[in-house]
């Protein structure tokens, strides 16, 4: 297959995943805002930081408010990671790789684009926000479902999965980092009921509340939640799960090729160094530093995949 097509697929699914995860991030922010007691918009600063869009936001706005933050993440054209920008970019890439997709996948992508663009044509009120976020998640899920149900399991599918899981790992790490930012100003709150509510919000933001209860029963605190989102190999949004998928899809792509793929070596390294210890080791190192390291390595892996599979040259 063409290197360009591989690149288009990789980015199409990265953008779809990012649109969904940005929606989740906004949802997490909204929940934290609704469950905290003191006034202010502090959590939106951390949401923007976790989304990696804080510095661009600061160039546009004087101060962080709920309305500005939500609008920036939802529909700002100047923000390449806003839900609207992501959906447009996903559809642009889908057109580029139209020949690699089934008609159903293309149709679902185009429908997602039309619906979401329409919903985000105007500012979204707080009252309408839950419905809009739900629609975003449903439409992106529909594309994923069509992909799962209709696409041949060949090279094309491997690049789809690489894009999906690279982006998802990146996003889960960022959502987990929200907790770090939120916790910073109120170390005294550790272990309080407020703290637990916020941790639960993190779980909700990755649709993991039910799964967590299945694994840990009624108990479980911050350490268990972190363990679940970082190390659990059955949780489909955990770092270990996503990075395991990167490894398996790279190994399918690697079949019949001589020598070691540099990107594969980097994934191996990431798994060995960061995901083969217990959660105590993670906290010992510091959760924030741990996440920063992983984000950096994911970025390097993405660049190496571009080179290994000749996306651009």
């Amino acid at each position: 297959m063409l290197g360009k097509t591989a690149g288009g697929l990789f980015w199409m699914y990265r953008y779809l995943e990012r649109a969904e995860n940005t929606a989740r991030l906004i949802e997490a922010g909204q929940r934290i805002a609704l469950t905290r007691l003191e006034a202010g918009d502090a959590e939106w600063t951390s949401i923007l930081q976790a989304g990696g869009v804080k510095s661009a936001f600061d160039e546009e706005y004087e101060a962080v408010t709920r309305d500005a933050a939500v609008d920036w993440m939802l529909r700002a054209k100047a923000n390449p990671s806003s839900v609207l920008s992501c959906i447009e970019a996903a559809r642009h890439n889908a057109r580029l790789v139209r020949t690699a997709l089934t008609g159903e996948v293309w149709g679902a992508t185009n429908a997602a684009y039309m619906k979401i663009r329409e919903m985000l044509a105007r500012k979204v009120s707080e009252r309408d926000l839950p419905e809009v976020l739900r629609e975003v998640r449903q439409h992106t899920s529909l594309v994923r479902g069509m992909t799962h149900g209709t696409m041949l399991r060949n090279e094309i599918y491997d690049f789809v999965r690489l894009g999906t899981f690279l982006e998802r790992a990146d996003n889960t790490a960022r959502i987990l980092d929200v907790k770090y930012y939120v916790l910073l100003p109120s170390v005294s709150a550790v272990g309080t009921s407020l703290d637990n509510v916020q941790w639960e919000t993190i779980l909700r933001a990755v649709s993991a509340r039910g799964g967590f209860r299945m694994e840990y029963g009624a108990g479980g605190g911050p350490a268990e939640i972190t363990e679940f989102l970082v190390l659990n190999k059955r949780m489909p949004r955990s770092l270990a799960f996503c990075i395991g998928k990167l490894r398996s899809n790279l190994s399918y792509l690697h079949r019949g090729v001589e020598g070691q793929l540099p990107s594969m070596a980097m994934v191996d390294h990431l798994e060995r160094q960061y995901l083969s210890h217990d959660i105590a080791a993670v906290f010992e190192r510091g959760l924030h530093e741990f996440i920063e390291d992983i984000l950096g390595q994911l970025g390097q892996i993405a660049r190496q995949v571009e080179i290994d599979f000749r996306f651009y040259e």
């Binding site: 290197g3 360009k4 139209r98 039309m114």
Partner: protein, 474 residues
């Protein structure tokens, strides 16, 4: 012309239902208008969701638009089609022979049937093609002949599209949409299928592979890119054929072959169905500023390392100045009388013709020799005095740039209008594939319809729509 009543393909000239429309007529009589209205909206929704759009030229932000689709089929009887396709095949064979001749021995010039300056003075003529033997001997792999009709058996060729004819995706998607919306219509009428076109196209292209091809021929579609007005069609055809859709920067000349960059390195391409104009094909041989082409592809082509479809330099055969010689061309190469008529054409480059044209502007259609898409033309009968005066000046300034034709009384076909069926003017573009194995014409084609009442301009850029085109079993 214009005195006798317009020929309607459903009702003829005397309000008698024509035979091919019998089955449709019975069905329509039982239909509820409001249901059909809903169906018309549904069709639009299908097109929008499928993304069957064209990009509008010259807009800052690439805008995607739908070409309006009309749900009433245009129906041609099997008998009419058989006659028509004989004429088309004859014409396409003549075009290929003509192209071979003008790039080799120029027998037609030696015989005094075509002035030499019509060739060497033509912008579409490519000296780089002199003496080149295209693989399989085919120049025009894909042709779209534009036809208009004026009476029961009267078809005229308006234009031979021998460069990169577009619109075939509409032929296929229109049929697909109709099958989804009105399955019962297809059980009542025996409509010949068009769906084999992509497979026929792939076979036809593969049959023209160069001798260097060692394995199964690798075919690819070359597009100028996602912002091109016909990008949808390029992607659609590549998808339907199951081949790669490439852009210039995916290709590179390596070891005397044109190769595409895959995830595992460069793989040679045997047949390139290019939807990029000659001029942009190769910056080393043609326009040096082209970013769409592949540097050196013409050298590979001349050495027999790749098939380019259509061959470079075919544009001369669909040029409007050459068009007026087509009856001679057909006769010269086939030794037969042309089965399809040409529209009478005045060449403004010739003083007598020019004088006649200037005297009769209000009755004529005047076209630019190299124009397309319905731009830069004058339609005398509908133009204002001021427009005619302005055009007269342009014509006098560069007479060689224009040809003129009488305004034909184009046939009409009903469309689904607000109040029910209402006649509109149409043309027809059947699609023809040429390979060493023969000439293949898909039964059907693209019917373009002028949606504005009385309008003769069917171009999509000027408010035209499309229809599903049926050819019935004999």
């Amino acid at each position: 012309m214009g005195e006798k009543p317009v020929f309607d393909e459903m009702w003829g000239q005397d309000e008698t239902l024509r035979e091919p429309y019998q089955g449709f007529h019975d069905w329509f009589a039982e239909e509820d208008i409001s249901r059909l209205r809903a169906k018309q909206r549904e069709a639009e929704e299908i097109f929008r969701l499928t993304g069957i759009t064209f990009n509008v030229y010259g807009r800052a932000e690439a805008e995607e638009r739908l070409i309006p689709f009309d749900i009433i089929p245009r129906i041609i009887s099997g008998h009419e089609w058989t006659k028509l396709s004989r004429g088309i095949e004859q014409r396409v064979r003549a075009i290929n022979a003509f192209l071979h001749d003008i790039y080799h021995n120029r027998e037609i010039v030696k015989a005094g049937r075509l002035p030499e300056e019509m060739i060497s003075g033509n912008e579409a003529y490519l000296p780089q093609m002199i003496g080149v033997q295209p693989p399989g001997g085919v120049y025009t792999h894909i042709v779209g002949i534009d036809l208009v009709r004026t009476g029961p058996g009267e078809f005229f060729v308006l234009e031979d599209n021998a460069r990169t004819p577009s619109g075939v995706s509409y032929m296929l998607e229109n049929r697909e949409t109709m099958l989804q919306m009105f399955p019962e219509l297809f059980s009542r009428n025996r409509v010949r299928p068009v769906q084999n076109y992509p497979i026929d196209l792939r076979r036809s292209l593969a049959a023209c592979a160069p001798n260097m091809t060692t394995d199964k021929p690798v075919v690819a579609v070359l597009t100028p890119g996602i912002y091109n007005s016909a990008y949808y069609e390029h992607a659609f055809l590549a998808d339907q054929m199951g081949v790669e859709l490439v852009e210039g920067h995916d290709l590179r000349v390596i070891d005397g072959r044109v190769a595409m960059r895959t995830t595992r390195g460069y793989t040679p391409v045997d047949v390139l169905y290019r939807r990029v104009d000659d001029e942009f094909l190769d910056p080393l041989n043609f326009n040096p500023d082209s970013a769409l082409g592949i540097p050196g592809i013409m050298d590979v082509y001349r050495a027999g390392g790749i098939t380019i479809a259509n061959a470079p330099g075919t544009g001369i055969s669909d040029d409007k100045a050459i068009y007026s010689y087509m009856p001679d061309i057909v006769e010269f190469y086939t030794g037969e009388r042309p089965l399809l008529q040409n529209v009478p054409t005045w060449r403004c480059s010739e003083p007598d013709d020019l004088a006649y044209v200037l005297d009769n502007l209000p009755d004529l259609v005047v076209k630019e020799v190299h124009g397309s898409g319905g731009y830069g033309m004058l339609i005398g009968p509908t133009a204002s005095k001021k427009e005619i005066a302005a055009f007269r000046d342009k014509l006098k300034a560069r007479p060689g740039n224009y040809i003129a034709q009488p305004t034909l009384s184009l046939s009409t076909v009903p469309i689904f209008a607000r109040s029910g069926l209402s006649p509109r003017h149409v043309d027809l573009r059947p699609f023809v594939l040429v390979s060493p194995e023969g000439v293949k014409i898909t039964p059907g084609g693209l019917t373009r319809v002028a949606l504005k009442k009385g309008s003769l301009v069917v171009n999509s850029s000027q408010g035209g729509g499309t229809k599903d085109t049926w050819v019935l079993e004999e």
